[in-house]
Symmetry: C2
Subunit: 338 residues, 2 copies
């Protein structure tokens, strides 16, 4: 192999992401320094949070700088090592970025079982990755799910949403309702993932359908999308409800200010709370969560809904746009054909 | 006395409250039935929450119905009694409504010391009433104030706001900042009530002034007003901040939908929560709170900021409008000249 490609941030997007917001560059395949190893990246996770990383300003992580390789969670294999803890051939997971090869000193890198442990590799970016951890801690720790609760999740057919609904089911929710775009996604939620109800926000009767789907109101509302769905969901909360703010994917490409939830005073009427979180804060507890979710996955109780695109780095911008258009179902991963 | 006047709700207000939303009627002075007593009302509390009580729809209390006496917290004196627990001459506090006389069976009625206990009567509707309780439980229980915190309070020169700032000071806040309308209110907060800073939202530089006033960000944001102040305050919250939603007085007279906080995603960035509450839920703990606040009042640590209007029932609508125009300072009370 003569060269290695990397996708760098070329411009901060205004509104929708454009191809020209990135620059594809070719560099020599790196060599490891003392205490380092080189990873050949095979799977790149696509996450709504990426849109925020591309913006300037105060956030929970520093922004990706112009000229830096675009940040991404990835899976790859070690192809050269001068690090005692990692050997050539090791399968690893880390934030290597949107690139074909990366050099690492091992910080924040986790080894995966060599054969994937019987689990398809994309699951390590989905249900057994940051996505699953986000669903797990958001629902159980921030949302304080209790037995018998009604759970509403928006972006329900997305990576985090499919996990939230299934975990709610496993953990004793009485009723799980998802909001998703399109009849096929709604069918998947109910027929294949055990949701009790699904509301198609594209069907033209969002408020009425939400009302019918939540006759006893909602105890935990896990919101991934913001905008109108958050706003209308707020009218359906039960006394003492917990609203978990995980994301606002409907709003990330706005050039106008975000739409704030005009029904937020239902927090007062319902003595409810709306809480934001960042999964990184739970790093010390990742182990327990992954162990529990791996058990569910092995037992067939939890399904990693996978949406893998085969391609190369040049396909990254369009794959990311596909996510913001709501065209993925479950965990969107770009698998690199080396 | 030949008759007794009552102010009834005549119409649900659209936007600002109009005189014609009420009807002043005269009825005979009531007589107590067995187990009842009659109160002559002397002081009527005016509260932003009243605007919500006049609206239809699901809320934390049933709406006042058209034709019903307008709901209000009041102080009065028992003028006739056939109730074992209440005697003629007793000074009492209860939700007797906007009227000159009310019949009660004693439910929800509290006796006050005959001479007011050395405290001016309006204080029992202010710092020692629902207003003080709202500040106390909102700040300490919902806002989880901790030693060394920075506290931001909006509507700071209002009844609840003046109490919140002073309680924060007493309970160990490192920095207390109020947002109020006008230089005179801001002066009062800093010079007389011990606030560390005050931001005049009418001065034309709200964002810049908020930023300067909160160099170390805000741990507890007690919001009484909603709208732009809530929205900009959200950009100043510290990691783990608690935002207490007590009211949204800037929005109650809107005919358009409420303005939602477009910066609500700072809840995620700052791992913060926004929680609504209703003081009635703390009824079992009113005693401890009142005892503590009475001690502070007696010790001169807490001041009941009083704005008493002398008048009669016909003055109620205009007095209420005065509050929504932000023209009161501290607790607004209508004292009836009998």
């Amino acid at each position: 192999m003569s060269g290695s490609r990397q996708l760098k941030l070329a411009a901060r997007p205004v509104g929708d992401i454009k191809d020209t917001d990135f620059e594809l560059v070719e560099v020599p395949v790196p060599s490891p320094g003392e205490g380092e190893f080189v990873v050949e990246v095979s799977h790149i996770s696509l996450d709504p949070a990426m849109r925020g990383w591309m913006n300037k300003g105060r956030s929970y992580v520093p922004p990706v700088e112009i000229g830096e390789v675009m940040r991404a969670l990835t899976i790859g294999r070690v192809i050269a090592s001068r690090h005692d803890g990692f050997a050539e051939g090791d399968l690893v997971q880390g934030t290597f970025g949107v690139c074909e090869h990366a050099v690492s000193d091992g910080a924040g890198v986790h080894k995966l079982p060599d054969d994937g442990g019987g689990v398809p590799l994309p699951a390590y970016l989905g249900a057994l990755g940051m996505t699953g951890l986000t669903a797990y801690f958001g629902l159980l720790d921030v949302g304080k799910l209790e037995d018998g609760n009604t759970v509403l999740v928006s972006g329900a057919a997305g990576a985090v949403g499919t996990a939230v609904g299934q975990i709610a089911r496993i953990k004793g929710a009485a009723r799980v309702v998802g909001v998703a775009g399109g009849a096929e996604k709604c069918r998947l939620l109910v027929d294949e993932l055990g949701f009790d109800g699904a509301v198609d926000y594209k069907a033209g009767n969002l408020m009425g359908d939400l009302r019918s789907a939540t006759p006893d109101y909602v105890d935990v509302f896990f919101d991934n999308v913001g905008g109108e769905i958050l706003d209308l969901g707020l009218t359906r909360i039960a006394c003492g409800a917990r609203i978990v703010i995980c994301g606002a994917v409907s709003q990330y490409n706005n050039t106008a200010p975000m739409q704030g939830p005009s029904n937020y005073m239902s927090l007062l009427v319902s003595r409810a709370s709306m809480t934001g979180f960042v999964v990184f804060d739970y790093a010390k507890r990742y182990g327990e969560a992954i162990a529990e979710m791996a058990g569910w996955l092995a037992a067939g109780k939890l399904r990693n809904v996978e949406d893998t695109v085969q391609g190369d780095l040049a396909d990254f911008p369009e794959t990311l746009r596909k996510m913001f258009r709501g065209e993925n179902t479950g965990k969107l991963v770009l698998e690199l054909a080396h």
